[in-house]
């Protein structure tokens, strides 16, 4: 299953809820959630820990727009909108954690 997150990990509990609830699969960080994919972000360790269960992707155009295109944390796969489409296609279902 694909879990799409669009909230900053530092201003709400959405990423935490997803990590605590979802059994595994793909996570895609878009919009303000892309901050979670940056080196030195406070959630880096938490996300690293989750990587055993999840494969974590980030929507690069959103990261680049926010001036952090060169700060991608290790282990996170960059995708463009085409890659976003591929992830939706590859998973049987998807959930946007609004």
């Amino acid at each position: 299953m694909l879990h799409i997150i669009n909230k900053s990990p530092l201003s709400g509990g959405t990423l935490d809820s997803c990590l605590a609830t979802a059994t595994g699969g793909d996570i895609l960080l878009i919009e303000d959630a892309v901050y979670a994919a940056t080196r030195g972000c406070a959630v880096e360790a938490k996300l690293n820990q989750a990587m055993g269960r999840f494969k974590v992707h980030v929507l690069m155009p959103d990261l680049e727009a926010r001036g952090l295109g060169d700060r991608l944390a290790e282990g996170i796969t960059p995708v463009d909108f085409g890659g976003f489409v591929d992830l939706v296609e590859a998973n049987k279902s998807c959930q946007s954690w609004l």
Partner: protein
């Protein structure tokens, strides 16, 4: 593959409509079908033809209209949500139509994937 898209936020205020549009465009470029885009909550404001963004900004509403025309994408605005927010036939942009929530459920049934963009 047949995609359905749900948009829950209005244009400009939130990135949801932009993300949804770029997703739709990428899906079409890959040869997928975007069967329906359903506008709900404040998302119904994406259908207002009274929108006038500054010249140097993207025209979110016109962009959807163009996508609908070029790729036969069905743009459906929820009637209940639209009436609450003053979106009616008379100010509806080209390519959009107003209909019931059943159209959202139908998209869930008919499409291979349904992707929601919101807040």
């Amino acid at each position: 593959m047949k995609f359905g898209i749900v948009i829950n936020e209005g244009p400009y205020q939130h990135q949801a409509s932009d993300s949804a549009y770029l997703f739709a465009k990428a899906a079409l470029a890959k040869g997928h079908e975007v069967w329906r885009v359903f506008f709900y909550h404040d998302g119904v404001n994406n259908a207002s033809r009274l929108t006038e963004p500054p010249q140097d900004d993207r025209n979110i509403v016109a962009r959807w209209s163009k996508l609908a025309e070029e790729h036969k994408v069905d743009l459906v605005v929820c009637v209940a949500a639209a009436l609450r927010r003053g979106i009616k036939e008379e100010n509806l942009a080209q390519g959009f139509r107003i209909s019931g929530l059943g159209q959202l459920v139908e998209a869930g049934i008919k499409c291979d994937r349904l992707v929601t963009f919101g807040d």
